[in-house]
């Protein structure tokens, strides 16, 4: 028996899918206002390309595929030269010391060694501040990998980056976060 073809019903999109799309976007970009914009753009793009909908996937799957493109576009935008801010390097990147720690970035022993740190609201706040201080593309990849615990392959696919690129970003983000927490919490 042939499968019934799915048709679009744009009048019900917001009631049926807006929350799902919004949550999908927030999980990735961690910004409520930006997520609202991405959801709005997704609906507009859906309306524009409704005639191309073949009815093979569900409406929700089709809208998510549009939103995924919007997230990639956002990542490319923040990764473009114009908007690019880099983290401070922790290692020499050339010369005879290439790959060695830069003196002022060498990890120091931590004074504040409370074992109850996980319960500490102030510490959580400081950690969030440090993550927010990362350049946007580093924060985005770091959050997807570490906080939302996405698989490496999934992030690479969603953001159209290579695995080695991902690990460079994760490494730089983590060294920067370690230093930020050292300066502002553990040795403050």
């Amino acid at each position: 028996m042939p499968q019934e073809k799915i048709t679009l019903d744009p009048d019900k999109w917001i009631d049926n899918y807006a929350d799902y799309l919004f949550n999908y976007a927030v999980v990735r970009v961690n910004d409520g206002d930006l997520s609202k914009d991405l959801v709005q753009e997704t609906f507009f793009a859906g309306l524009k390309s409704a005639k191309n909908f073949q009815g093979k996937a569900s409406e929700r799957t089709w809208l998510i595929s549009i939103l995924k493109r919007k997230v990639i576009d956002h990542y490319r935008k923040i990764n473009s030269k114009k908007g690019q801010a880099e983290v401070r390097m922790s290692f020499y990147d050339d010369g005879e010391n290439e790959g060695s720690w830069i003196e002022e970035r060498v990890p120091q022993s931590w004074d504040n060694a409370s074992e109850k740190e996980i319960e500490n609201q102030e510490l959580k706040k400081q950690l969030e501040t440090c993550i927010n201080n990362l350049p946007e593309k580093y924060a985005l990849v770091f959050r997807m990998k570490t906080i939302q615990e996405f698989e490496t392959e999934e992030i690479c696919k969603e953001l159209d980056i290579t695995a080695s690129n991902l690990w460079v970003i994760i490494h730089r983000a983590r060294t920067q976060l370690r230093k930020c927490m050292e300066d502002n919490w553990f040795n403050n």
């Binding site: 929350d19 409520g32 309306l47 060695s100 490494h171």
Partner: protein, 87 residues
């Protein structure tokens, strides 16, 4: 052979980061272990990195339990915008 096992601090800490997600290969972990024999800075980085992973995990649990919704007002605005776009 020994040359192949030698890595820089940058490479060692990258492997350390990968292993936080259980994604470092056996060969990478071997190189990291050998690097640790002569580098106390990277050993310290690893200890601190493990501790940071505990903080990230705690944050991860809190974030993953949270579902984000649009407010009713946002939905009404969105409906209006979509309506105008259609016209």
């Amino acid at each position: 052979m020994l040359k192949k096992l030698q890595i820089t601090c940058n490479q060692a800490t990258t492997i350390c980061d990968k292993s936080q997600y259980k994604e470092a290969s056996f060969f990478e972990k071997l190189k990291l272990t050998l690097h640790f024999l002569g580098c106390k800075i990277c050993r310290l980085y690893t200890r601190q990195n493990n501790r940071m992973s505990g903080l990230y995990k705690d944050k991860s649990i809190a974030c993953k339990n949270k579902i984000n919704y649009l407010s009713q007002t946002d939905k009404e605005v969105l409906k209006q915008q979509v309506k105008e776009f259609k016209e």
